[in-house]
């Protein structure tokens, strides 16, 4: 396969992509592998082995910019007497992640059309802060977390305990079903992913009354439509010790890498370093800080082994995002093929 990418003290020796190799399907199938390292509700780490960097990158790019998701797009503000200006409020609401699965919705064809059950979700929020609420809140917080009040008043604009504020969180946003939506969805399946996203703070007498319309969109239009926090890959690192590193140097070497990369073994009372787990290495290159390691260590990256991470915001499982992305790529490839074929016919 490809030559490794060697990391020198001041630069990376990049041979990758400079040579053109003919594509061989059988070889690809033989080499291609996906190992799932870690999978949780929101995060997935997997190894993508035996693919070209272009493929890994296109996957990343598509996840970041083209996998759609639902986000609040329009906010009708009926009342907003809080200190948060209308535009800021709307901007903040737009960035709140929604649990709604975008695959169950259609893209809105006309921006100005009436929202319907297939392309939109509607949310409401109506909140008014009264002195009574606040007193109750203060009391409750004081009872449950005596320190809380102190902390709260610290972050308040006016440091004074009578000046408590009522905090509006994303949990105060309530879904209101459109059409037959209430048969299909539940508050849990389309509501807020996080309950504790700060939206605004209210003083007694202030109120916010809103109606929000969420639509399906792609992150290219606006980052709020991203279905991931981020998705990225790194190339599998490789460490080679070219010489025995013993004693204090071995300890030093160990400290130059994240925990678990370099292991120490004792031979006849002398500590000798060996590479335990390359995967955890993170290109910090701190070995170059010490003269004694010059020419003793070779840091490199394996060019066709990608450690890929997808961090979902929670609306879709990371694996679904992966498949969505693959589907989009396939669609793009088909599209390109079609154009190419059509052109040859002409």
């Amino acid at each position: 396969m490809n030559n490794p990418i060697i990391m020198n003290k001041y630069s990376i020796e990049r041979t990758l992509g400079n040579e053109v190799k003919p594509y061989n399907y059988d070889e690809f199938v033989k080499n291609f592998k996906v190992n799932i390292i870690n999978l949780s509700e929101t995060d997935m780490e997997f190894d993508l082995i035996g693919v070209d960097v272009a493929l890994a990158n296109s996957l990343r790019r598509v996840i970041i910019s083209e996998v759609p998701s639902m986000a609040i797009e329009k906010v009708h503000i009926y009342q907003n007497t809080s200190y948060v200006l209308d535009e800021i409020l709307a901007h903040r609401l737009g960035l709140i992640p929604l649990k709604a699965d975008p695959r169950q919705f259609k893209m809105k064809e006309d921006e100005n059309s009436e929202p319907n059950e297939h392309d939109s979700l509607v949310y409401d929020m109506k909140i008014k802060c009264t002195k009574k609420d606040l007193d109750a809140l203060a009391h409750k917080q004081y009872i449950s977390f005596p320190g809380m009040i102190l902390f709260l008043s610290n972050i308040l604009i006016y440091i004074n305990d009578e000046q408590l504020t009522f905090i509006v969180y994303s949990k105060h946003i309530k879904w209101s079903p459109l059409g037959n939506q209430k048969d299909i969805f539940t508050e849990k399946s389309v509501g807020m992913i996080n309950d504790d996203i700060l939206i605004a703070k209210l003083r007694p007498g202030q109120e916010i009354e809103l109606k929000m319309y969420a639509v399906k969109g792609i992150p290219k239009d606006h980052a709020k439509f991203q279905s991931v926090c981020t998705a990225w890959y790194r190339m599998m690192p490789n460490i080679k010790l070219l010489d025995d590193i013993k004693g204090n140097d071995a300890l030093l070497l160990q400290s130059c890498f994240p925990k678990g990369v370099i292991g120490l073994k004792s031979y006849k009372g002398v500590l000798v370093a060996h590479v335990e787990d390359c995967r955890k290495e993170n290109s910090s290159r701190n070995v170059f800080r010490y003269k004694q390691f010059d020419n003793k260590i070779l840091l490199s990256k394996i060019p066709d082994h990608f450690i890929f991470t997808i961090e979902s915001i929670g609306a879709m499982e990371p694996s679904s995002i992966f498949f969505e992305a693959i589907n989009i790529i396939i669609k793009k490839v088909n599209n390109a093929l079609e154009i190419a074929l059509n052109q040859t016919e002409v």
């Binding site: 990376i12 020796e13 990049r14 272009a54 200006l85 980052a223 990225w232 910090s284």
Partner: protein, 1112 residues
């Protein structure tokens, strides 16, 4: 070994917290109200009349109340500054006096009589914000971090800037512009200012003064002062050989003039005083009294003279001459005007007292003339002076002066403009930066380097970085964090008495020769010689001990000048001074225990000053001190130690992290740019209605900030955001300092901000009982909706809150009566529309509407806000003078990313570094990165802060590259980049220059009425000028038709008839000159040309146009 003091910066913090950052303004205003005002009224307390010797009016006991507003119907109530800002009122308080006067032969007494209103400085002791808690301030809708120190006049915030002036009553030896050695004294007392020069010209010494037509030989002058013996004169000046040599020709000249007695000398001077038009009778005596008057009150006016005893003046003059003569042989003895001890700062208090003194005198004069005029008249009611007291004389004079900044005081022939400036509320930093500004009186256009350059004596007093570039460079300065400006001291008498007790002997007790003995030191107190001592060091030490014991004000300075053989004691106002830790016997008096007590709140900074652990040293006294920079540098001779080295910087420079690693001009640039950075201007920004206000939605506390940042509250009202930057080139849209932004970051709120703009209108009452009215929107009949123009209006005809307003939409639908004058009562009752329009390419949203009344009319103010998302061309800057515009906004997938998936928010081209040498920015990035990993703010204080070695270790500890360089993968092709990229967080400021405010293009549009050429400027939708240089290009290229098109056809073309025969304009095809029509041709010409010809004709100059066929 000296114990190292920990957390010394805490002292600075405590100092700034207890004293306030801008106390010099407020202190001086308080001093004005508490002392100066009383003094002025006391000095001019009586009004007497020439008509009635028994009549009098006495002003007693003047006080100033609290700011009030007149609600009409004689109802007044206390007012808050915020209300004044919003309602365009003046924040002023009544001046009360107790008056005693005579009415029909009886004595009357009235207490608390208002003679005028005085604008009140915010946070002064008369202001309603004085000593209020944060919660109380919040209730008054006032920002708790606001500096105060300014006035509110008719709704605008005005600052009286500090003015730098040459110090008064100091002897300065200099060479004048012609190279003539001169010794100069600017005398200044409460009611006299004069300038006296003694010059050395053609080997002779002369006394010059403006009131003299001719220079007076020095010896003649001395004789006029009553020192008639030549021997005595010489002894007064000194009997050193050098002096005798120089004095010889002077004596010779005097004897040539035949002047031997005082009377002869007085007459000699009398003949040379300007404006002496006496009749011949008794001429002699009148001249003599006039000269006596001149000698005692005009020349060297600051030296008091009693009963024509000029002894002190003679000694003072001889000291001046002595210095002049010594300087001739030793150029080192020349003084420098730029030395900061020879400067003083005029504060608002002294400006106001000058002004008030003048207006009060005028006020009294007016009352006197009223009394003179009215007392002789026989009237039914007895003359009552208080009916004639007009409060607006004083009120208007003060308000007008502060409003316009024109300070004209006729008595001193003072005519100054631009004394006050509008407080710039662009950002918090610009507002507080203005309170520390020092303006200099030098002419800006002159190319002088002396007053502009940084003087060593300014160290620690003035910020070495914060000065504008260009013409005002070095003339406008800013005082440092710890610098203090003294106010008038009350202890002058105590100091005088003490000096005498400490062994100063009055000059009169010595024979004049003794004065100049080697061991004798003259003692000069505020420019006056008070005596002499032969135990100079002992005296000074004792004096300082007394000061430390608190026997008089801590701000009175004393210092020995070996050069002058003088001890100077100064108690005057406007001196810059600075606190230092006192060091005795190689040990600082302040210990860690003291600082701990301070931290725990057991004591205050003031306690340390009272106990003289910390002492204020002014510029002059610094010359007698050995000040250690830190504990290690203390040697046995050390007298003081620096509190914190970063305190030499001013407010704006304190925001820069690691300024000591930057090239110095970069810090200067940042000082200018920090004031343009948008952020939160004050906590009450949503309650303000300013003409223009910028704000940033999501401000951050800088990751790397200096110790001074929390002290100036920049962390509570920051202006900028921590952007993750990558220093690399990208796409070519980043050349010439352009920056690349990540679109996703912008979507998520990076650099987002907005503007607030106001519009206001008055609803006036007119003499014919009519009044402006506001009319509701016009409803379109077909759609039943308001017409486009009125779409933003509410039913009441004022824009509705929350509505978007587009270009040319009406925001207040005002209508004015067609007739307004008294004669028209009962005339046309119709109205014409005079609405307020919104103007702008982009829509705004109505934020606030305020309806209120203001003296005689209704006032409506509206505030519009406009969100501003960063776009290509918007200006950003880091805190290191590295500004750049957005060159490209890139999608997140195209941005590079690192091994943990972080994309930079902003990409900066590395070419910005080598020539700018802003190493501070590199360290800021590194420290910021370490701070993120550690989860704490990093310290980047000047002359301190976290070191690069420590930061590198911290990065290493968190398994990041110790150099701060990461492996970045290209977002476009996905490969790791060959170079490691320096990336991390840097605090970026968004500057107020935005494309949305500047974008301008026009194809057709309005024209100027007079010339028919396109209007100029964006605000008038003007054309883009093809100027001379552009024209030159076209000429050089030979595109003559293009020139015709640009300069005429697309501009002000007009078709005119011209007569071939006479060459004059014809009209309607008929030449009135030739009475013909067949000679008339029609030509195209620029309207401006036609206009010129007609104007010339109007001046009886006949321009003729000779026509030729184009083809000939």
């Amino acid at each position: 070994m000296v114990e190292v003091l920990r957390d010394k910066e805490f002292l600075v913090r405590e100092y700034l917290e207890t004293r306030g950052l801008y106390s010099h303004h407020i202190n001086s205003f308080n001093a004005f109200i508490d002392c100066e005002l009383k003094k002025i009224v006391q000095q001019n307390h009586a009004v007497r009349s020439d008509a009635d010797p028994n009549f009098y009016l006495h002003f007693k006991n003047v006080t100033v109340g609290h700011p009030q507003v007149d609600d009409g119907f004689n109802v007044t109530r206390n007012v808050t500054p915020q209300e004044c800002r919003l309602r365009d009122l003046t924040y002023c308080a009544p001046i009360y006096v107790d008056i005693e006067y005579v009415k029909s032969g009886m004595k009357y007494l009235r207490k608390g009589f208002i003679i005028g209103r005085l604008p009140i400085m915010l946070r002064s002791n008369r202001c309603c914000l004085y000593q209020k808690s944060d919660a109380e301030l919040a209730k008054m809708k006032e920002c708790i971090y606001d500096s105060g120190g300014y006035f509110i006049v008719k709704g605008t915030e005005k600052v009286i800037l500090m003015q730098e002036q040459p110090a008064k009553n100091k002897i300065l030896v200099e060479k004048d512009s012609n190279g003539v050695p001169t010794v100069q004294v600017m005398s200044s007392t409460v009611d006299k200012k004069s300038k006296t020069n003694i010059i050395f010209k053609k080997n002779l010494i002369y006394v010059c003064h403006n009131a003299l037509e001719e220079n007076i030989p020095f010896v003649v002058f001395m004789k006029a002062l009553g020192v008639c013996s030549d021997q005595l004169i010489l002894q007064m000046v000194g009997t050193e050989f050098a002096i005798m040599n120089q004095m010889y020709p002077c004596f010779l000249e005097c004897s040539k003039l035949n002047i031997f007695t005082q009377k002869q000398a007085l007459r000699f001077i009398g003949d040379r005083i300007k404006k002496m038009g006496f009749s011949s009778e008794d001429y002699d005596n009148r001249v003599i009294t006039e000269v006596h008057d001149f000698l005692s009150t005009v020349i060297l006016a600051h030296i008091p003279v009693t009963n024509t005893n000029y002894h002190m003046k003679a000694i003072y003059t001889s000291v001046m001459v002595r210095r002049l003569i010594f300087s001739l042989s030793n150029p080192d003895l020349f003084d420098s005007k730029d030395y900061y001890g020879n400067k003083c700062l005029d504060l608002p208090g002294s400006f106001l007292s000058l002004l008030f003194d003048d207006t009060f005198k005028r006020f009294i004069f007016e009352l006197k003339s009223v009394a003179d005029k009215n007392i002789p008249k026989v009237k039914a009611t007895p003359f009552d002076i208080i009916k004639y007291i007009r409060t607006d004389t004083i009120t208007n004079a003060l308000v007008f002066a502060i409003q316009t900044g024109n300070w004209s005081i006729k008595r001193f022939r003072m005519e100054r403009h631009g004394v006050t400036q509008v407080l710039t509320r662009l950002s918090y930093l610009s507002a507080i930066g203005m309170m520390t500004r020092v303006n200099s009186q030098f002419e800006k256009s002159r190319k002088v380097s002396g007053p502009r350059s940084l003087q060593p004596s300014q160290f620690g007093m003035l910020c070495p970085s914060d000065t504008p570039e260009g013409e005002a460079c070095g003339l406008i300065k800013n005082i440092s964090l710890l610098a203090h400006v003294t106010t008038e001291s009350e202890d002058d008498d105590a100091v005088l008495k003490l000096a005498l007790n400490l062994g100063v002997e009055p000059v009169g007790l010595f024979s004049v020769e003794e004065l100049h003995e080697e061991y004798m030191y003259l003692i000069i107190f505020n420019g006056n010689i008070i005596g002499s001592t032969n135990k100079c060091i002992e005296f000074v030490n004792k004096f300082r001990i007394c000061r430390r014991k608190g026997m008089f004000s801590k701000f009175i300075s004393i210092y020995i000048s070996e050069r002058h053989k003088c001890i100077y004691i100064n108690s005057g106002d406007g001196r810059l001074c600075r606190p230092y830790i006192v060091v005795e016997n190689g040990q600082p008096l302040l210990t860690n225990a003291h600082i701990d007590n301070l931290k725990r709140g057991y004591c205050t900074f003031q306690d340390f000053i009272d106990e003289s652990l910390i002492e204020f040293i002014d510029v002059d006294e610094e010359n007698n001190s050995l000040i250690a920079y830190c504990e290690e540098k203390i040697v046995p001779e050390t007298t003081h130690m620096e509190i914190a080295p970063f305190s030499i910087l001013g407010i704006c420079a304190s925001v820069i992290p690691y300024p000591h690693h930057n090239q110095s001009p970069r810090n200067t640039y940042q000082c200018a740019m920090g004031k343009q950075a948008i952020g939160t201007i004050a906590l009450n920004y949503l309650h303000r209605i300013d003409t223009l206000q910028y704000n940033l939605w999501y401000t951050h506390i800088p990751m790397v900030h200096s110790k001074a940042v929390p002290m100036i509250n920049f962390d509570k009202l920051p202006a900028g955001q921590n952007a993750t930057i990558a220093v690399m080139s990208y796409s070519g849209y980043d050349i010439e300092d352009a920056i690349i932004l990540n679109k996703a970051s912008v979507d998520r709120g990076f650099g987002r901000g907005g503007t607030f703009r106001n519009s206001k209108c008055f609803l006036r009452h007119y003499p014919n009982q009519m009044m402006d009215s506001i009319q509701g929107p016009i409803i379109d009949n077909a759609t039943k909706k308001p017409i486009y123009k009125h779409r933003a209006l509410d039913n009441d005809g004022i824009a509705a809150i929350g509505q978007p307003v587009f270009d040319k939409q009406v925001t207040i639908n005002k209508a004015t009566p067609k007739t307004v004058t008294v004669e028209d009562v009962g005339g046309d009752r119709g109205f014409k529309e005079t609405p307020m329009y919104y103007k702008g390419y982009d829509p705004s949203y109505v934020d606030k509407v305020m309806i209120t009344s203001n003296s005689d009319c209704f006032l409506i103010k509206e505030n519009f806000r406009q969100p501003r998302r960063p776009e290509i061309g918007d200006k950003f800057s880091s805190r290191h003078g590295q500004k750049g515009v957005v060159g490209l906004i890139v999608n997140q997938e195209d941005m590079p990313f690192n091994e943990v998936g972080i994309c930079p928010d902003l990409i900066m081209n590395p070419h910005g570094f080598p020539s700018r040498m802003t190493v501070g920015k590199l360290i800021e990035l590194l420290a910021g990165k370490a701070g993120l990993l550690e989860g704490k703010f990093q310290d980047g204080s000047a002359f301190g802060g976290a070191t690069v070695a420590d930061i590198s270790d911290e990065l290493h500890k968190h398994n990041y590259n110790y150099l701060g360089k990461d492996v970045l993968y290209c977002g476009i092709d996905g490969r790791p980049m060959e170079a490691y990229i320096y990336s991390g967080p840097v605090f970026y400021q968004r500057l107020k220059h935005m494309v949305a405010d500047k974008i301008h293009a026009r194809s057709r549009g309005p024209r100027v009425l007079l010339t028919r050429q396109p209007t100029e400027g964006r605000s008038k939708d003007g054309g883009l000028r093809m100027g001379e240089m552009e024209r030159d290009c076209l000429i050089a290229y030979g595109a003559s038709m293009l020139i015709i098109e640009r300069l005429m056809l697309s501009s002000d073309v007009v078709e005119m008839d011209v007569c071939k025969l006479c060459g004059l304009f014809s009209y309607s095809g008929w030449c009135h000159m030739c009475q013909k029509s067949n000679s008339v041709c029609r030509i195209k010409m620029p309207y401006a040309c036609k206009l010129l010809f007609q104007e010339l004709q109007a001046m009886s100059i006949v321009p003729k146009i000779s026509l030729k066929k184009y083809c000939d």
